[in-house]
Structure formats: structure tokens, C-alpha cells
């Protein structure tokens, strides 16, 4: 939304407050051009960029096939914000704390970008370059997002840390999806975090460490500590590290336990 002659506007929930502090822009309303669809196909779900958070949160195919996205979209802002704000806007604004992005990363989301000349597809992980900057070209519009359907049956956990219970800006977001077999061996793991690294990201080193292992509390403790080490390695020691490190260890432990279906563990 930063370059080009026209800034696309849908819900305006990020763009309109931003315009209060910047030069007036020419806007192009894309909220009613038919890109608010949700299509469930064989092994993927395609979501139009202008689908609102309320729409995602109430859609049955999202609930069934992309449960973490369903949960994330229900935690965005307030009800009024969810009624206007869109998943495409959440992506293109590229805030480090965007609620839906960690959930989308779990499902290997790809973004479809269109211009008058061509259509291209790129992974969401590659699309977000740094805080508030994406790879979108001035003549491109984010058209849709294609997500791989969740592994079945996967256990999932989405944790959003805020300073209050509702209408909060996420201070840390964790999304975890795990598949385990009857012997408690982890068959697949997807882990994504927001507000831990400069941009929301999958934590592949952590995923690789978990796959093939038997679930124990020691394993999850090690994993949570590894997450904190990775955060410090990537983001460096910052003023917030003394707070964020123990919080990330605690939340990662909780998210892994929740996704593994282990109840009653209070960190």
C-alpha cells in the first residue's frame, strides 16, 4: 500500500489512521470488486484478499481446514475492526504483529498478485520483506491467498499475548500445529511466531528438532528454550529481551502442550 499512483483501500482500518500522518493519497476502493471469496478446493483453500476477518472467523471451511486462521481472525482488534478489516490488508500492511500472518504461515500460504500485465504467485514468507514492507510492486494488487489445508488430524494452538484481553495489539503471537502418532511420536510440526523476529516467520529449526521425537516435557522444555535462543540470535539483545525471553519460553511450552493435547500444565 506504500507505492504506486493509487493506494488500494478495502476496510481502511490500518490505512485511514496512517493517512492522518501522511500526505493525502489517491485511493482505489477494492472492497467490492469480487475478491472477498473463500473457495475450498481439493487440498487448498483460496481466500480473496478483501475477505473480512469477521467473514473468515465465521466461515465453516476456514474453521475446518485452517483452524488457526479461524482463531486468529477472531482475535483481531474489535468487532467493528473485524467487520471492516481484511486479511489482504493485514498482510500488505506487514506489521510485525499482524494477527493473521503467523496462522497463514502455518498453512504454507502463497499470495497471488495481479497487475494489468501478469499474475504471479509467491510464498507469504518471501513476500513480507521487513517490518511494514512487502515485495508488492506499484502496479500490483494482492488478489488472493492460497493455503494448504491443515494436516488431519492435527492439534493446534494459537496464543496471542496482549496488554489487555480485548482490542489489543499483539505483543507476541505463537501458532503451533502438531501431528502425533499413537506412540506420541511427532509426525509433523509447523510453528510460526509474530513479534519475535523482525517479521512473522516459521521457526523451521524448531520444527526440525521436534519431528520424529517422542513427546515428553523435557522435549518441550528444550524446544521452548531453543525458541528463545533463536529469538536472541536473530533479533539481538534488546531492551525488551529480559521480559520477552522468559515469556517466549513460557508461551512456547504452553502452545506445544496445547497442540499436543496435554492438559493441565500451567506454566
Amino acid at each position: 500500500m506504500r507505492s504506486g499512483e493509487f493506494a488500494p483501500i478495502a476496510g481502511g482500518t490500518d490505512l485511514v489512521p496512517q493517512m492522518r500522518h501522511s500526505q493525502p493519497r489517491q485511493l482505489m476502493d477494492i472492497s467490492r470488486i469480487g475478491i472477498d471469496f473463500i473457495n475450498s478446493e481439493n487440498d487448498a483453500v483460496e481466500i480473496g484478499a478483501a475477505a473480512t476477518h469477521t467473514r473468515l472467523n465465521s466461515d465453516n471451511s476456514i474453521k475446518e481446514f485452517l483452524p488457526l486462521l479461524s482463531r486468529a481472525s477472531g482475535l483481531v482488534g474489535s468487532w467493528q475492526i473485524r467487520n471492516r478489516g481484511t486479511v489482504g490488508g493485514n498482510i500488505v500492511n506487514a506489521s510485525p504483529c499482524a494477527d493473521t500472518v503467523p496462522a497463514l504461515l502455518i498453512y504454507d500460504a502463497k499470495v497471488v498478485l495481479v497487475s494489468s500485465k501478469k499474475k504471479r504467485m509467491i510464498s507469504l514468507a518471501e513476500f513480507i520483506l521487513k517490518p511494514y514492507l512487502t515485495d508488492i510492486k506499484p502496479n500490483e494488487l494482492l488478489h488472493s491467498i492460497i493455503c494448504r489445508k491443515s494436516d488431519q488430524p492435527a492439534g493446534a494452538s494459537y496464543l496471542k499475548l496482549g496488554r489487555r484481553q480485548a482490542v489489543n495489539i499483539s505483543r507476541m503471537t505463537l501458532a503451533v500445529s502438531l501431528v502425533k502418532d499413537e506412540n506420541d511420536i511427532i509426525k509433523s510440526a509447523q510453528i510460526a511466531v509474530g513479534s519475535v523476529f523482525p517479521v512473522p516467520s516459521r521457526v523451521t529449526e524448531l520444527e526440525n528438532m521436534l519431528v520424529g521425537q517422542t513427546i515428553t516435557s523435557a522435549l518441550f522444555n528444550d524446544a521452548a528454550n531453543l525458541a528463545a535462543d533463536l529469538m536472541i540470535r536473530e533479533s539481538g539483545l534488546r531492551w525488551s529481551t529480559s521480559y520477552k525471553k522468559p515469556v517466549l519460553i513460557g508461551l512456547m511450552g504452553r502452545a506445544l502442550n496445547e497442540a499436543a493435547g496435554i492438559k493441565g500444565i500451567r506454566q
Binding site: G11, R20, L27, R32, T54, G77, W79, Q80, I81, R84
Partner: protein, 179 residues
């Protein structure tokens, strides 16, 4: 924000059940257009960044912050504001407004129009919300007098007073003019 060379665009929309055809300055938010363009000052202006909810209106049946909608985006839409809530020509209040008065849920009154609009949207989805559902729905409406418990009580009371017909007019997928 605007200057004397402000560009305008024509828009057709329904507001509180009445069809309008108006020229709208392109840089205005819906909040500004309602208040300054049409003189509908019942919708209040608070934070203007979508956090306080005092400008909540119904946009095609959904509660939204009027400060975050660019006014030209209402072309083809169906808008309800607090001015349209009480029944026309009946000289009485809507049951939700009545409940707010009975429960002393109006302190300074600045948040009340937004609270009432969000409550209408809540009842349109859920006639018998529990306390958690009420709180979750109203999370985007701040009350600086902090009279939240009376407001929640008022919503609870309104749920017992409200009849099907009291919500009918707000429930409109049929948009006006071109779409």
C-alpha cells in the same frame, strides 16, 4: 484535511431508511460526512483511529467505525445511525435506548450512541447473549465514565424487552441505488 479545491464524487445510499443522492468530498471519512455534510451529529467523534467506538454505525447491517470508512465508500450501502434507532413518529424510544435509561447506563452520554448501535448489531446476530458475549461484542466501545456494569446490565435488560419487529428495519442486505 480538505481544501477549497476538494474533489467530490456523487454517491447514492440509504441512511436510516431514507434514500440519498449526495456529492461527497473524496477526502472525508464517513464520520465527517455524517456530522459536517449531513448534520447528523448523533454519531460522536472520539479517537478517529478506530479504537474508541463512539462513532459506531451500521454499515449494511454490521457495526463499523465510521471514522475508518472513507465517505465515498458508502455508495450503494445501507447505513443506520443513532438518529434512526427510535421508531419514527411514535414519540417513543427504542427498547435498547429505554433499557439504557432504566439501568442508568448513560453517564456523560458520549459513548451511548455507539454502545446502542453495537448492541443492535449484537441482537441482530444473537437475541439472548450471555455476559461473555455481551462483553466481547462491546469490547470496541470505550466508556470513559467507566459505567460498564450498568451498560452490560442494560444490554441484558434490553434482551428481555426486544421483539422481532424492533430489529427488522436494520436488517437490510438490499442496498440502495447502484451497487
Amino acid at each position: 484535511m480538505s481544501n477549497s479545491f476538494e474533489m467530490i464524487v456523487p454517491a447514492r445510499f440509504r441512511l436510516n431508511g431514507i434514500s440519498f443522492e449526495k456529492d461527497i468530498p473524496i477526502s472525508w471519512t464517513l464520520l465527517r460526512f455524517l456530522r459536517e455534510g449531513l448534520g447528523y451529529t448523533g454519531t460522536k467523534c472520539g479517537c478517529e483511529i478506530g479504537e474508541c467506538g463512539v462513532c459506531t454505525i451500521l454499515f449494511n447491517g454490521q457495526a463499523v467505525n465510521a471514522c475508518l470508512v472513507m465517505a465515498p465508500q458508502i455508495d450503494g450501502a445501507n447505513i443506520w445511525t443513532i438518529e434512526g434507532v427510535a421508531p419514527l413518529a411514535a414519540n417513543k424510544l427504542h427498547p435498547i435506548q429505554q433499557a439504557f435509561i432504566e439501568c442508568d447506563a448513560v453517564h456523560c452520554g458520549f459513548c451511548s450512541p455507539g454502545m446502542v448501535m453495537t448492541t443492535i448489531a449484537l441482537f441482530m446476530q444473537n437475541k439472548k447473549p450471555d455476559d461473555e458475549q455481551i462483553k466481547r461484542a462491546l469490547a470496541g466501545n470505550l466508556c470513559r465514565c467507566t459505567g460498564y456494569s450498568q451498560i452490560i446490565e442494560a444490554v441484558r435488560l434490553a434482551a428481555t424487552l426486544i421483539a422481532e419487529g424492533d430489529l427488522k428495519k436494520f436488517n437490510s442486505n438490499n442496498t440502495a441505488g447502484k451497487s
